[in-house]
Symmetry: C2
Subunit: 331 residues, 2 copies
DNA sequence: CTGTTAGCGCTTTCAC
DNA sequence: GTGAAAGCGCTAACAG
């Protein structure tokens, strides 16, 4: 058995309470005794029990994060960012992985509730809109990322992100610009597509329906969509992709067709996941402000825990990262 | 406050003990009462408290995982695999992220100990050999991955992996084969390099020292190493890389030089991380048996918890995944 | 400044 | 088959 406060108390010849205070650096305990107690604790290899403390204080300083398997680039980055901010605030992170299934997602949340996490963050939520209200009744703050329909959410401005991406291409003189969507997140897809359409029309470029294709949001889908686009009589000179994974699939298809990026076709992704700079060529992509999102999410959670009303649907703006997958349209 | 067993007991007109038993499906409680209790629990929205149970049983059914930030592909995959097996065994996973610094790694472990995790797994350990013994004295099982020097470890046969990779290239008639190492994991690097050298000598191919370069184990390092190799008077026709990240950097350098993969140069990676199939072209790479590694690691941990002596340095073999980045040498 | 006391929510003997 | 009681390790009033 690991040493407990009781053990320390015995050795130090004081009560548990004093030990507790000393270890918490309470000013209400004699400086000498305090120091002595801490020394003894160290010598005895004392490791405080977070679960016992949790039981007593009804706060575990623990944050639950639900992610969908498999970790894809954006999610992994997000977990990273969340973890970083969480530990800055003295929080540990419990990871609960679920499959691509709303029911398993709910189950993952239940598991976290059993662990009595103080709050839950879901970077890639797939819960149905109809179950959203239920999430607020759950007892602990649940924050969703990129889910504007929910009261406690922080997300990226997809509309504007898509606009930035497409305008970048338009500025490079591209006109036949395609959009490869992804069904894995219908809301986000709709918004990004809308942003694409608006940018096009703002520049007076008529939208060609055949340039609007939709895959599954994974590399395979991106690849087959791109193949479809390449088979067009008049193929696009640029493509804007739902996310970086889709873009990687597109890159493969273009390469297989014997074409070059960006000379023959420019490609833009979305997310600026850790995958983006590794691709050949390094991908131009819209960066979601992941760090800020994580910080905001945690802020909402902590405010809620402190009893403040933190209802907020925060929408952050990101910025385009221009790398080497885009260039001026050369007809 | 969430409903507790006490609440249920009051409503059901029984004692807490009976509720506890009923909820645990103990046969020692009357079938009818048991069912009734479980119904009440459900109706009251009861969520058991894992931390209270943990306090009482001194088992938290919780597994700690320490990973180095940033999550790179292999680690993320490993966390996935560990999580999957863990939840198969009814375990939750607490993630503790540390920087690339042994001290912070130890700190991450401490944090997990406070949470009273039942065991700890470290997929990419960077603790010094000299601190290894300390890990065994820590109170809970600590399993390291890919760290043969440690008593409780499971890893991949790096020597054989490198051999497989290089022999694949040799069979494709390559002779000028380079190795791009990575210092981020000295042990593994040494082993993979050794495997490379042995395969070469087994085939009677004299090793050219100028074909042996070493980077940092990240894409940037891979890129600059590859540039160095391309500047050689007689450049290699194939490169074997320390890991997939390095390979992605190499791919970029080759692309920038106006050369093609695999026609001009074949490239082999290591790990078969989720990055590999996304690259252009999809990367031939040696696959570590991640699922098996996770399973074995958990098995050791559970055996240890059950009081068995599970000392074992398990070395698993993996297999080469041939994709499109390698082809026959065309002189 | 320190001790006493009472839980936090659950499990687990030991009785009945 | 069920209850009573003790305890897991810690915190937090409340006294003194």
């Amino acid at each position: 058995m690991p040493t407990s406060m009781k053990d320390i108390a015995r050795v130090a010849g004081v009560t548990e309470s004093t030990v507790s205070r000393a270890l918490a650096n309470s000013p209400r305990v004699n400086a000498d005794t305090s120091m002595r107690i801490r020394r003894i604790a160290r010598e005895m290899g004392y490791v405080p029990s977070a679960i016992a403390r949790g039981l007593a204080t009804r706060r575990t300083s623990t944050l639950g994060v639900v992610v969908m398997e498999p970790f894809e680039a954006f999610t992994a980055d997000m977990v990273n960012a969340i973890n970083r901010t969480a530990s800055d605030h003295g929080y540990s992170v419990i990871l609960s992985v679920c499959g691509p299934d709303p029911e398993r997602e709910m189950n993952a949340i239940r598991l976290l509730l059993e662990q009595r996490v103080d709050a839950i963050v879901v970077p890639d939520p797939l819960v149905a809109d109809s179950s959203l209200p239920q999430l607020q009744q759950i007892g602990v703050p649940v924050i969703l990322l990129n889910r504007g329909a929910y009261t406690f959410s922080v997300g990226t401005d997809n509309l504007d992100g898509a606009r930035q991406a497409v305008e970048h291409l338009l500025e490079l003189a591209h006109r036949r610009i395609a959009y490869i969507g992804g069904t894995r997140s219908p809301d986000e897809n709709t918004q990004r597509q809308e942003g694409y359409l608006r940018a096009m029309s703002a520049w007076g470029v008529p939208a060609d329906p055949s340039l609007l294709v939709v895959g599954d949001g994974w590399p395979a889908g991106g690849k087959s969509c791109m193949e479809q686009l390449l088979a067009l009589d008049e193929r696009p000179t640029a493509v804007f992709c739902f996310n970086d994974l889709v873009a990687s699939g597109a890159l493969q298809a273009i390469h297989n067709a014997g074409l070059r990026v960006p000379q023959d076709i420019s490609v833009v992704g979305f997310d600026d996941s850790s995958l983006a700079p590794c691709l050949v060529p390094p991908l131009t992509t819209f960066a979601q402000p992941k760090e800020t999102m994580a910080r905001m999410a945690l802020r909402i959670a902590l405010d809620l825990l402190d009893g403040y009303d933190a209802s907020a649907r925060i929408i952050l703006s990101g910025k385009l990262i221009v790398r080497e997958s885009t260039t001026r349209c050369s007809p």
